[in-house]
């Protein structure tokens, strides 16, 4: 039997960047095939070629043994390839039925097409256990269910081969488990699944075979049963990496950040954070676990002074912060520094040269230049030094910020905040879009900072990261803090329940 997909010697360049170098891949029918690799390894490019967003410079694509040319996503759909993007392509105000119909209405009038969609959705629900209220407004569905709608869309269009790009990035652990169950049932029905992810745990849990990409090349394809996460990590990075940085037990010091009854109501009148109370001590990492969008971002921004508190108070090193002083500028002066969640939207200015991004938030510091001016030579020299210490590549302070990889951008942000000796450090998603090698480096730095007595509040949607780094873990759901655990005394299932809003009282 022919493989479902064969990619043979695919080459693709963007300008001087050779994103795919002679990549070959064979995906057997009726299997779940994982593709792993660091950011920029070429996974997304390869899948975009398969789905018709880009055309390869050279190479051949075969589907079920027959060579085909895929020039658009319509060609891909025609060949039975469906894709579920990391960022959903859904129209939120429309219902599930309307979203599935979109682009396949079957004529100027909707009635006939709609009846067909309903029938087909009922069949799919039965075949794959894909149960969903077809008349629900998509925007009101949970993220996990929205993802189901994406999968339904692909299946409705006759997809035999389903590509999922980082599907669990937005899911709770239990939602992720439900997704994996679904993928397994798709596999049993003879569908082929290609799963792109950087989470090795998921690869191990659900795939049959896994291919590893590194710097545009396909470096290995192995049976999942014959490999292990450390081996995959080594293949991805090209050297041995520690997936878990060791840290010693340490008794926390005095409270440095005390948050009391903090509530935030946003401009639209929605309650984003409800009555959050917690303390971070010196020399302690407190992790906040939660699915993205449950109030963690607003909480961080409020503590940093970027948002007005609707209720509650913040104390820093035992001192009340009056609301008149609760702004980013003053908080920095008081020693509360902030590595924001979204470095490209907030932490850096992508269009600036790196040395200008490296003073964001600190452009008023008197040592940066004479009077009202900034001394560029000095800024460049300063950043050059920092780049060496933090191993930023390339070590080019004048290079445009957006030209650095995610990991190196994050190092620039981290260096900027750490080198100013924080007393409290707020850290949001420190390793989002960061490659494994840099993750290890960043984790080491954060632990070193904790050991030096800094109080760290860490927000991350990566549960692994929270569990590795934190001394204490808080969970958030729907803007509320739903639980608190010592990191040593909890596990994923436990946290997963708390993150889903099942509180201790209810349990």
């Amino acid at each position: 039997m022919f493989p479902a997909i064969e990619l043979i010697a695919i080459n693709k360049s963007f300008g001087a960047v050779h994103a795919n170098k002679g990549v070959s891949l064979s995906v057997a029918r009726g299997t779940i095939h994982g593709i792993v690799g660091e950011n920029g390894a070429g996974k997304s490019t390869l899948m975009s070629i398969l789905y018709g967003f880009y055309e390869a410079d050279s190479g051949e694509i075969r589907v079920n043994g027959a060579p085909i040319r895929i020039r658009s996503s319509n060609d891909a759909i025609g060949a039975g390839i469906g894709m579920v993007h990391q960022h959903f392509m859904l129209v939120e105000p429309l219902t599930v039925v309307e979203n599935v119909m979109l682009g396949a209405e079957g004529g100027a009038m909707l009635r006939a097409g709609e009846a067909k969609v309903r029938k087909e959705l009922a069949r799919l629900a039965q075949d794959y256990g894909l149960d969903i209220d077809v008349d629900a407004i998509v925007g009101e569905l949970s993220v996990g269910l929205q993802q189901r709608v994406e999968i339904l869309k692909a299946l409705y269009r006759g997809a035999d081969i389903l590509i999922l790009d980082e599907p669990t990035a937005v899911l709770t652990p239990s939602e992720a488990d439900a997704l994996f169950d679904l993928l397994r049932s798709l596999k049993e029905q003879g569908k082929t699944v290609v799963l792109i992810t950087h989470k090795l745990r998921e690869i191990m849990a659900v795939t049959d075979r896994v291919s590893v990409m590194r710097r545009g090349e396909m470096v290995a394809t192995v049976e999942t049963a014959d490999t292990s996460p450390p081996e995959l990590a080594e293949l991805m990075v090209g050297r041995r990496v520690l997936l878990r940085v060791e840290k010693t037990e340490k008794a926390p010091g005095a409270p440095v950040l005390e948050v009391r009854n903090l509530s935030i109501i946003d401009a639209r009148g929605v309650l984003r954070v409800a009555d959050a109370t917690f303390t971070v001590h010196a020399g302690e990492i407190v992790g906040i676990a939660g699915v993205a969008g449950n109030g963690q971002s607003e909480l961080l921004e409020a503590i940093a002074g970027m948002r007005r508190l609707s209720l509650g108070s913040v104390r820093l090193e035992g001192r009340d912060i009056p609301s008149s002083q609760h702004n980013p500028h003053r908080m920095r002066e008081l020693g509360l520094l902030h590595v924001p969640e979204d470095r490209l939207r907030m932490g850096l200015v992508p269009s600036f040269p790196a040395f200008e991004s490296a003073i964001l938030g600190f452009s008023h510091e008197s040592q940066l230049g004479p009077g009202p001016l900034l001394d560029h030579d000095r800024l460049v020299a300063d950043l050059a030094k920092t780049m060496e210490q933090y191993d930023v590549r390339p070590p080019a302070p004048r290079l445009k910020t957006s030209n650095f990889s995610g990991g190196n951008q994050q190092k620039i942000v981290l260096a900027r905040e750490i080198e100013r000796n924080p007393k409290v450090l707020l850290v949001g998603q420190p390793t989002r879009g960061v490659d494994i090698g840099a993750i290890e480096f960043i984790h080491r730095r954060l632990i070193a900072l904790r050991d030096a007595g800094v109080g760290i509040l860490l927000v991350s949607v990566e549960l692994d990261e929270i569990m590795h780094l934190s001394d204490r873990i808080l969970t958030m759901c729907g803007g509320r803090i739903t639980g608190e655990r010592r990191a040593a005394e909890t596990n994923e299932q436990d946290l997963g329940l708390l993150m889903a809003g099942v509180t201790d009282e209810a349990a």
Partner: protein, 367 residues
């Protein structure tokens, strides 16, 4: 993951605009051809009229002075992420400021009166820009809409004032009396005459030097100062500004105030340097040309100076051309100017993409 447009600085700042201008001239040439005139002759008249004679050059530089000010005005606002369409209105009000200051402070000596007039221009222009700036910063009223409205307000206000208040009783013209002689900014030919050098007579005056100094100071402000840094952060990434503790509202107002003050330079050049009285419509639409100048100059002071020169050549050479070749009317010259604006401003991305593509090809072939 699309291919980013990256190219060397020289290509970005020199090559692409140059290609745009050449393409614009080619298309304009076709237009000239279509009305039965020889484009080469037309080009010769254009260049000869603007650069070929000392007098022509003087007029070219006079226009360029106007364009540098309004170009800088648009650029400063642009760096803060604002599109200030209100150069016309701001310059008009600056003219009012000049007239009020100069005709009421006649007792002052020249070396005080001239700076007083310039400051009045800057203050009135700034004030007229500050209101839309405030509305944008605090109320979210879109700056494009409000500055356009303020152009109309300025235009009717000045008509009312010139007809009913500021006009000399015995004069039929809606204009003020002539400013005191001490307040006139010397013409360039006068300034050269002090050193015994004779140059052809033109409207060109010492305001050109003020324009060049302003360009340097704006460069220093935008690219080297803490305030300029804050302005660029707000323009490039408002969320990052909030994170950094920079108040976007404050920066928006500051940028608009600076922008309006710079637009006032147009009034200084036209009124204190040349007309020596306040009259209707002295801005002649140059406030809008500033948008094209800033676009073409990539909002960089050096680029703005070069673009201002080009537009100065077009305005002066175009006038000569219309004079020499009656078939090519002033309207036709406006069409040619429009084509250049279209290519240099709106279609800029077209050539940018093409050049980036060609450069990356040659780089790959070379590698």
């Amino acid at each position: 993951m699309s291919a980013p447009i990256e190219m060397p600085k020289w290509a970005d700042t020199v090559l692409v605009p140059a290609i745009s201008v050449v393409a614009a001239f080619l298309i304009a040439g076709l237009v000239v051809l279509s009305i039965g005139e020889n484009p080469l002759t037309a080009t010769r008249y254009l260049l000869q009229g603007s650069l070929g004679t000392g007098e022509g050059l003087g007029f070219t530089l006079f226009y360029a002075t106007d364009f540098i000010f309004v170009g800088l005005a648009v650029a400063v606002a642009y760096h803060a992420g604002l599109f200030n369409i209100g150069g016309e209105g701001q310059a008009t009000l600056a003219g009012l400021g000049i007239a009020l200051a100069l005709n009421n402070l006649t007792f002052l000596p020249g070396f005080v009166l001239v700076p007083a007039g310039i400051l009045a221009a800057a203050a009135f222009g700034a004030a007229w820009a500050a209101v839309p700036g405030y509305l944008q910063a605090k109320r979210g009223s879109h700056i494009v809409i409000t500055t356009i409205m303020f152009n109309w307000l300025a235009s009717v206000l000045i008509v009312y004032l010139l007809v009913n208040v500021l006009r000399e009783p015995q004069s039929m013209n809606p204009e003020t009396r002539t400013f005191p002689g001490a307040s006139h900014i010397p013409f360039m030919h006068e300034a050269f005459a002090w050193f015994g050098i004779t140059i052809p007579t033109s409207q060109l005056n010492l305001t050109l030097i003020l324009a060049l100094v302003s360009a340097y100071l704006i460069w220093l402000l935008i690219y080297r100062s803490r305030l300029g840094y804050a302005i660029r952060v707000v323009g490039a990434n408002p969320a990052a500004a909030v994170y950094a503790g920079i108040s976007p509202a404050r920066i928006i107002i500051i940028a608009m105030v600076l922008s309006g003050a710079l637009a006032g330079g147009l009034a200084v050049n036209e009124l204190m340097g040349y007309q020596h009285r306040l009259l209707l419509e002295f801005t002649s639409g140059y406030g809008f040309v500033g948008i094209a100048v800033a676009l073409m100059g990539r909002a960089h002071p050096m680029g703005i100076i070069l673009a201002s020169l080009l537009f100065g050549i077009l305005y002066q050479g175009g006038a000569e051309l219309a004079f020499e070749q009656p078939n090519i009317t002033r309207d036709m010259v406006v069409v040619i100017g429009g084509i250049i604006i279209l290519f240099a401003g709106a279609l800029d991305g077209l050539f940018r993409r093409l050049v980036a593509y060609l450069l990356s090809r040659t780089k790959l072939a070379g590698a």
